[in-house]
């Protein structure tokens, strides 16, 4: 990476969340599920939200979903993202219900619509052990 290129912030997994990142590394999406309340959970937690049940287990899902909302940032949202604009920052609602933050790739700005179907794109960040979960239109 050139000296004048800003350092993109990368996640620092904790023990609790490591299975999610390990899944992405294998190009799989794994999130938590609480059998007692029949709820899917994202982001990973120690206890299920609301019920606080401690029965969360990891399950693999397709990672597909719909675009809940988005914006196109015309200026970097933080100095670290200088040069990435326009950033198409997306909130994806997984088929299972939970939402996550991502960005859209492989899409024309004009073709983006709230409610559109989207599917995972696994981005192995060069020179790191990190894979980020980005999304593209499912068409």
């Amino acid at each position: 990476m050139a000296a004048d290129t800003p350092q993109r912030p990368l996640p620092t997994p904790i023990d609790r969340t490591q299975p999610f990142w390990d899944g992405l590394r294998e190009h799989k999406v794994k999130i938590q599920y609480s059998p007692s309340s029949d709820n899917w959970v994202f982001y990973p937690r120690s206890h299920a939200p609301l019920t606080l049940a401690d029965d969360l287990e990891w399950r693999e899902i397709s990672g597909e979903g719909t675009l809940y909302t988005y914006t196109i940032a015309r200026r970097p949202t933080a100095p670290d993202f200088a040069g990435d604009e326009p950033q198409i920052i997306a909130v994806v609602e997984l088929n299972e219900g939970p939402r996550l933050t991502s960005t859209l790739v492989n899409v024309d700005e004009d073709a983006i619509e709230v409610g559109m179907r989207v599917r995972p794109v696994f981005e192995d960040v060069p020179g790191t052990e990190t894979t980020l979960l980005r999304y593209e239109p499912d068409s």
Binding site: I14, T77, Q87, I89, T101, V114, L132
Partner: protein, 399 residues
């Protein structure tokens, strides 16, 4: 349930917001001392009567904030609060002060929002600024650090734009109606000398022609960051009766906090203000029709639009025609942010949120001068923190 309306805002200090400071930096504690003195002078109350302090963070200390302030001011207090609700903090402090007074804990509470730059240390601190990613925490173990920051989902523009985009997908997006909010508030700013845009009128075309920052939000729909500072004095009935001005009684409040990051909202279009406003009106025994002016948090135009709806002044989804049909300036039939709002007055840090309270109180005190709403008796105020997810509603009333 709730307040009886026996505590009032009786004193105000507010420094003129400035885009670039024209006076030297001051430590937060020094600002606290100066603002407290000005607010007490305004009320005609002696510092020895203060027995409560409500604060937000200060630069000089990460913890033990109220005791540090009390010690610096030489005050001994029965209420020592730190509130951490972003832009909702000041409104949240107002009801806490009123509640402490009605419980008999305090007689005079000072609420401070010092927002002037502090001197830089001779040796710069190591590490990155905690504000590098806006209000998102980059600390180890923070969900935001792990699941939002790496995707650039940080800072305020991005989150409010996501809310506006969702609003548009649900109800349709009338960019001119949103722009009109900034324009009408600017009219009021043009009649308020301390406003940062006092001398700069704008049109709907100006707003729509300003740069697109984060779709669908334009530059002129976003607050102007400033430096400044404000404080208010809240007092009980006996003290209020002998203070200098017509008291602005705090008759109702509501507070609701839902989440931190919009991604994890249960429903992004069902804001925390809905229950908060309902509780405030119910507690005050007031109807929406009895409100003479609203002074509501306006970091963005979409915030005002959704606030008008979620506070119940029009049905949800009908805010855009409502804005088109009403004059929101201080001269109009639906006065909204008569000081110009933070969009026109400027956002001096947390003092920006305080400006909605000082303006609501000023109107009820009948101290609005060139932008006074005639016969203002009932003001509805909001504080909004984070991304519409931390909401406080207040109702202020004259005698």
């Amino acid at each position: 349930m709730g307040l009886r309306g026996e505590a009032a805002i009786v004193g105000i200090a507010e420094w003129k917001p400035e885009r670039r400071p024209t006076a030297p930096p001051m430590f937060t504690l020094e600002q606290w001392a100066q603002l407290t003195r000005e607010a007490l002078d305004d009320a005609g109350i002696d510092p020895s009567e203060v027995d409560g302090i409500c604060a937000t963070n200060i630069r000089e200390s990460d913890s033990f904030v109220p005791s540090t302030i009390a010690e610096y001011l030489g005050m001994q207090v029965n209420l020592a609060e730190v509130v951490d609700l972003g832009g909702a903090s000041c409104a949240a402090m107002v009801w806490r002060a009123a509640a402490a007074i009605e419980l008999g804990l305090c007689n005079v509470v000072v609420i401070g929002a010092p927002s002037w730059p502090s001197p830089r240390p001779p040796v710069p601190p190591s590490g990155l600024s905690s504000w590098r990613y806006g209000a998102s925490s980059a600390n180890y173990g923070s969900p935001q650090a792990e699941f939002d920051i790496p995707y650039g989902n940080v800072a305020q523009n991005c989150g409010y734009a996501q809310i506006a985009m969702k609003y548009g997908a649900e109800y349709g997006y009338d960019a001119e109606a949103l722009a009109k909010i900034a324009v009408d508030q600017r009219v009021s700013a043009n009649h308020n000398p301390p406003a940062v845009f006092h001398n700069v009128p704008i049109t709907v075309e100006d707003v729509l022609n300003s740069s697109m920052i984060s779709d669908p939000i334009h530059m002129l729909e976003i607050v102007m960051p400033c430096v400044g500072g404000a404080a208010i004095v809240v007092a009980g009935k006996d003290v209020a009766r002998r203070s200098k001005h017509r008291p602005a009684w705090i008759s109702g409040f509501g507070e609701r906090v839902l989440h931190k990051t919009p991604t994890y909202a249960e429903d992004l279009l069902s804001t925390a203000l809905i229950p908060a406003a309902d509780q405030a009106f119910k507690m005050a025994g007031r109807s929406r029709e009895e409100v003479d002016l609203i002074s509501v948090y306006d970091c963005y135009t979409i915030t005002v639009l959704m606030t008008i709806e979620d506070a119940g002044f029009c049905p949800r989804g009908e805010g855009q025609p409502f804005v088109r049909e009403h004059d929101l300036s201080f001269k109009g039939e639906f006065p909204c942010n008569t000081h110009g709002g933070q969009l026109g007055f400027g956002q001096a840090g947390l003092a920006g949120g305080m400006s909605h309270i000082t303006e609501g109180a000023r109107q009820v005190m009948r101290r609005g001068e060139d932008h006074q709403v005639p016969d203002a008796d009932v003001a509805f105020i909001t504080g909004n923190g984070g991304l519409m997810s931390e909401q406080v509603a207040l109702i202020l009333e004259g005698d």
